[in-house]
């Protein structure tokens, strides 16, 4: 299982960095998880400035957060994928104008090596 996101080349050219946190089972406290993902053990230096709820093109809910870690402000999108959460962390001097549009095009890739239907055993 993965989160698929097409990152535009112009973002990279403009010094924007993107980190994708692969889907994982929903943590007990998603906000604490978000802070820890960004600031590690130095949780006190991170602060959520703003948050709002959006929807991807396919209808998946994602929460967009502005998080300050010391002097840097990151945009963090947390995707709710049934019983998993995935995150995209966008960092850089300037926020891309098409930020929301790009984040809304993200989608889960459910492909797995697991045997979901027993029929698959004989393939």
């Amino acid at each position: 299982m993965d989160l698929v996101l097409a990152i535009p080349d112009r973002w990279i050219d403009n010094g924007v960095s993107v980190q994708i946190v692969a889907p994982q089972p929903i943590p007990f406290d998603p906000r604490a998880w978000l802070i820890q993902t960004l600031a590690g053990e130095r949780r006190q230096v991170a602060q959520i400035i703003a948050a709002r709820r959006l929807e991807t093109r396919d209808g998946w809910i994602f929460d967009l957060h502005l998080v300050r870690v010391e002097s840097q402000v990151h945009v963090v999108a947390i995707y709710h994928l049934r019983d998993h959460l995935a995150a995209v962390i966008v960092s850089g001097e300037r926020r891309p104008p098409d930020l929301e549009e790009v984040l809304a095009a993200a989608r889960p890739d459910w492909r797995t090596d697991d045997i979901v239907a027993l029929d698959d055993l004989w393939r």
């Binding site: 396919d58 209808g59 998946w60 809910i61 049934r82 459910w110 797995t112 090596d113 697991d114 045997i115 979901v116 239907a117 027993l118 029929d119 698959d120 055993l121 004989w122 393939r123």
Partner: protein, 287 residues
Amino acid sequence: MISTPPGWTSVHRDGGLVLVPPEGAGYGVLRYVERVRPLAAVSTIMATARAPLGWREEHVSPIERLITEEGEYAGFAWKTGAIDDTPCERTFGIVFGDDFYARLTGVCFKSDHFARFRDTARDIIRRDAHVLGVRRRRFVYRAPRGWTGLRDNVFHASWLAPSYPRDRSVIVVMPAVPVVPGLREVVLEGVIGGTSPEEALLEPRAIEAREQLAGETFRIRGPNDTETTLAILTDARYFYCVRLDTQNARSEEARAALFELTSTIEPLPDRGRIETSRSAIMTHWVD
């Protein structure tokens, strides 16, 4: 647990069993190992099995679907090719447990004995004994077309509607469980919750199913324009339950997918000649 064929010799090696035919190791060899995890498809097991040095593959057989004498699912296939220009055949027999498999791999170096070697390997797989008994167990069905499958745990699978999450319909296929009197009522009660059955239940109806299976579906009204359909089927030994959660607006289309799935459910295989399996349980330990 396998039994050594008459005249063959067996030796424990590397956590498994190595079987050598009466003609000796120059004729061929079989290796058996059990409780291999995770569960995998026959083609994956064949692709990842270590090939003999110098192996050149020429042909891969179709995969045979087998049932062991204990009623467990199994698969069998072989590859023909050559090692240093000498024709060889590699055999693969797999017995599937709930979350593990047992694997018999072999190589035969004598082309005029390929068929006999293969038959012996197939026979060993058919008699392989795991003594898993009647238990909570996954069963075979055809996945609904276009739906995305997720394995929730060892036993449960969820199928998401093609346009999920816009269409929030989800089909959950539960494991079959041994028939217990009153189980159907307990399951229905669990879904209905505190609502009276008269208010919650819509038109229970008989369901189309394969031979040996009979069942009904129950539509149950839920809150906020949602509904649940339970398909409950039974045979003489097992109880099969598939659940669909959907919104009213999507229910007809989603129920068609549910019925498509339930019509393909195969009853779990019954145990066969248990006497033969009984001999397999101990022989390679007491030989």
